[in-house]
Point group: C2
Chain length 216, copies 2
């Protein structure tokens, strides 16, 4: 369990909140992309990016020229908020008020630091590559010294973490159950299509690619 804090405690819908470590890790691991939030001149900035979790650290991919990564270069690091959302379905209630969505989301608060050591950076980049296919790191060319220098990775310790989710069916009021409107859930899943090889590729489709069909 992650310890709740003031900013990870919901002001409402507390029944949808959790601080369970395994549940948070599962959402972070299933999602390919996240949103990185930070503050510039007092105003919020958002940057979609790719992430990978290794134990209790979230690594965020970036480039050395991007603003948040430059800001995270200092010893103080960069105060950030990272959000990951998996949309699981659309909920059609008989009442418009109870229309909703099924989802699993994680929000992480903390201070991100730039990964500086080459070995640490290589390890994080390997994890990012392994995330899209377990075994891909050994089946691709590792970064050159120049490529490594051109890539930036942020590390965010997973300490202040909350999970919010909605699952299940329609939550209509009892008085509405006799209304004639259709009610139910349309499930949604991120789904992989057939791999599309680049021109000139002769290697067979590797076994570590996502299989066509629902991801995770």
């Amino acid at each position: 369990m992650y310890a709740p804090t003031a900013r990870t405690t919901a002001s409402r819908s507390r029944d949808r909140m959790s601080y369970d470590r395994d549940a948070a890790h599962a959402v972070l691991d299933e999602a390919y992309h996240c949103v990185l939030g930070f503050v510039v001149d007092g105003a919020p900035r958002l940057l979609p990016t790719l992430h990978v979790r290794v134990d209790d650290v979230l690594y965020l991919h970036g480039s050395t020229g991007s603003r948040p990564l430059l800001a995270a270069r200092g010893d103080a690091g960069l105060p950030v908020c990272v959000s990951v959302t998996l949309l699981d379905g659309l909920v059609y209630a008989r009442s418009q008020f109870h229309h909703s969505a099924n989802y699993r989301s994680v929000v992480v608060h903390g201070t991100a630091h730039l990964v500086t050591g080459d070995d640490d950076k290589r390890a994080a980049l390997t994890a990012l590559v392994e995330k899209v296919g377990a075994g891909r790191a050994a089946d691709s060319r590792p970064p050159s010294r120049r490529e490594l220098a051109e890539t930036a990775v942020l590390a965010l310790p997973l300490r202040e973490v909350s999970v919010r989710s909605r699952t299940g069916g329609v939550g209509d009021e009892p008085a509405d159950l006799e209304l004639p409107h259709w009610a139910g859930v349309v499930p949604l899943r991120l789904t992989a299509g057939a791999p599309e090889p680049a021109d000139g590729v002769v290697a067979p489709v590797p076994p570590y690619l996502p299989v066509p069909g629902p991801v995770a």
Copy 2:
């Protein structure tokens, strides 16, 4: 075209940026959910939520108890940043450095205000319901006075808007093209499953539900 500003101008990868109004609208309309970013006590906060675009206004769904919506109650409104991302594929290059993702994302900066008038709020909620099925608003019970009071909607004018996207295939270095590794793209799509009716529903599946298969 939206006019670029300092904070919607990329510090790098400018070739992936656009300010095209139709492209931005298409991404906002296809995505069911977004992330709302705002600042509390100098630190970033993120809140995943549902949105709908009506002309050049983005409406964000919330509840009257939530922090950002309370903050947006004042005349000054709430400085926000909203991000929407559609993940279109995973890009496997021969080099780890050129691994990437295909995506379309929109970032909106601006000041959000709480929608206060009952008629305006009803119109925004109707648009939110219509987004999950054109015709659903007429085929569901409208909000009661109490339900309307319990729902909050933020309005964010679409003025400072950028689109970032990556499409297409692998961008390997010429020197890497002879490497033996598989390279290509695994396309990803959000896909609807078969509708799951709630207990007791006798109405047939309405024609406005997303058809099983890729969404949009």
